[in-house]
Symmetry: C2
Subunit: 370 residues, 2 copies
């Protein structure tokens, strides 16, 4: 029985395909891997570009070589016949309609549980450099936000003004995003959430920015050329922070630093999460659901892998009793959120080494901005 | 037998999910539709935001309401049990691993061939307005490119210089993309391909821009707020075009205008494609594969639907003998490409009406720029 790995999709959307081929293509194409060869099959439209830029160990085919028209099912059946493939191993998210059709045609097909390219979890030197580069660009975006906030004035109405205009989340995000673009990275959904909006971790922020209130800024762009992501969160207060905001900021920074001590090759994944949670509780920041059904406290995981996807394996979270193996790049991002005053999140990313972790993030932990 | 429609995914990546719910969420969630209700199931992290911004006809549930932990399979099994659902109808790209697991648990599941939300093909007044808005922003991006090219000087080396710096595809795209961002749209992979690079329709362009050679600019950003796309291609020559470039430009513009006459409610889809192709051939621009295996001529389709996806149904292409029904929004984008001098593509988008099509694109067809 001859078994082949198979991926079908657009490498712009599917990071496994990009990882295997090294080219961004918007339209769907076929990638297969047998014991003898790695191959990719493209439409005429993409063929020339693919030949020029695909990874050297991948052979490029044209749809027409399989004399099967442009329909993916026909091409896959011709591929299986030509290469005498009996069974395809496919990613868990392989499209079910195509899978069922292949099965109906007598080709066995199995969706692989979990991660299709487990090697992606452990970063090469090249990948580490790319993510460091992505972080440098990400930090330029954050520094731009800091400069805008420093230049802004506090109006009598309690809102910020910049260039004689009300400073909104939209304007601040546009300043961040254009900085990212000019430096070779594509912004994703940058977050700049002021005051109560920041109590929802994924609220992107909209409208006027408040003085003397927390502002959570989360930036996670993707390098245009290599496809790797950066990820960075800081929390600022333009003006003066309240007592609870200050205490939350200090507790979150401390919990992030404590958590880093539990990140190294061989460390149990939940330990860093628990260390962060315990530190927050020590400072009085507890987690739960209020009478209105709203979450408060630290109700997300501590971190996630970063690479060709913004969220990838591994996770650092509760109930994960397996260990880090070394070579992973993960975020460390504790945060606390309260519906009555907002949230604080402070996110670094680290590279897991033998005895400890290397902090890739270089930007500091400023909080109040004059 | 009770049947429910089911979609699982991130609404940032899955336009069907966004269409049904109206909210952008980066993490996976569950959407289901029975005869009695439309529902969506979110993690705690997204719950508050979902309640605040989901479409009014969709009921929001929390994962925990199904007492099944956070694993999607468990939640789906609990959902099927609670709502007494026997069978899920899912999109053709539903993940096969999850589908197989549901089947193993006794739930029938069928992948629907083709389009899961056929109603998306026909745009509402709201959608038409959004796409018009997206085109206005897209045109601002193209106008910015035109201004940069007009301001640029031709160096003695035959390349363009702008602000005393070599003008590259990267700089020009950055000018376009920042214009898009400042006007509320997220750039996708903007193309600015000069000279021979433009002979590959999907080559994004890199390096110096040539004077007196064709430059293909293709811009297709997505509105940040509503998620709708614009799509626009123009071809310019800074300086003087050669005879073949001029003839190609005139032939492509003529073929685009001729093709539009074959786009109306009831028109057979391949007719507009054939009209464009015949017009190009009339002017001597033929299609084929050269001795090196490279495509030349008009070797892509005439157009595609535009909406929440940049490429969606319907297509305008050869061998499509079914008809347009009215209400579609499609691109009309003939192009010719030759490995020895480059390519010309001119793309408008149109709204299919009863007797004709309404051209949504407003920007003109400039070619040579002094």
């Amino acid at each position: 029985m001859k078994i082949a790995k198979l991926i079908v999709g657009s490498s712009e959307k599917c990071s496994n395909l990009f990882y295997k081929t090294g080219i961004f293509v918007p339209d769907d194409f076929i990638y297969f891997e047998t014991d003898e060869e790695k191959g990719a099959i493209f439409s005429s439209l993409e063929f020339d570009r693919a030949v020029n830029s695909i990874k050297k160990d991948v052979k490029v085919y044209r749809n027409e070589e399989f004399k099967a028209g442009n329909y993916i099912l026909d091409i896959l059946l011709a591929l299986a016949a030509t290469k005498k493939i009996d069974k395809f191993m496919v990613p868990s998210d392989f499209p079910i309609f195509l899978g069922d059709k292949l099965r109906e045609s007598g080709i066995a097909l199995e969706g692989v549980e979990g991660i299709f390219c487990p090697e992606r979890e452990f970063k090469s030197e090249f990948e580490l450099l790319q993510i460091k580069e992505a972080m440098r660009v990400t930090e330029l975006g954050m520094k731009r936000a800091y400069v805008v906030l420093a230049e802004a004035n506090i109006g009598n109405d309690g809102f910020l003004y910049w260039n004689n205009e009300l400073l909104t989340s939209e304007i601040l995000k546009s300043e961040i995003d254009t900085t990212l673009l000019r430096n070779g990275a594509i912004p994703d959904h940058t977050i700049a959430a002021s005051f109560l909006q920041s109590s929802q971790p994924h609220n992107e922020g909209t409208g006027a920015i408040y003085a003397n209130k927390v502002l959570v800024i989360d930036i996670f762009p993707r390098l245009k050329n290599s496809g790797y992501y950066g990820d960075l969160t800081r929390t600022y207060v333009k003006g003066r922070a309240s007592d609870i905001e200050k205490r939350a900021f200090n507790a979150v920074v401390e919990s992030r630093e404590v958590a880093k001590e539990f990140i190294y090759s061989g460390a149990i994944k939940e330990n860093s999460y628990n260390a962060a949670k315990n530190t927050l509780e020590k400072h009085g920041f507890f987690t739960g659901v209020d009478e209105k059904g709203r979450n408060y406290g630290f109700f997300h995981s501590l971190g996630h892998g970063v690479g060709l996807d913004i969220h990838e394996s591994p996770r650092l979270s509760k109930n994960l009793t397996d260990v880090l193996k070394g070579g992973e790049i993960v975020t460390v991002e504790p945060g606390v959120y309260y519906p009555d005053w907002g949230g604080v999140r402070m996110e670094d990313i680290v590279y897991v080494r033998e005895q400890n972790c290397e902090v890739i993030t270089q930007i500091g932990d400023e909080f109040e901005i004059d």
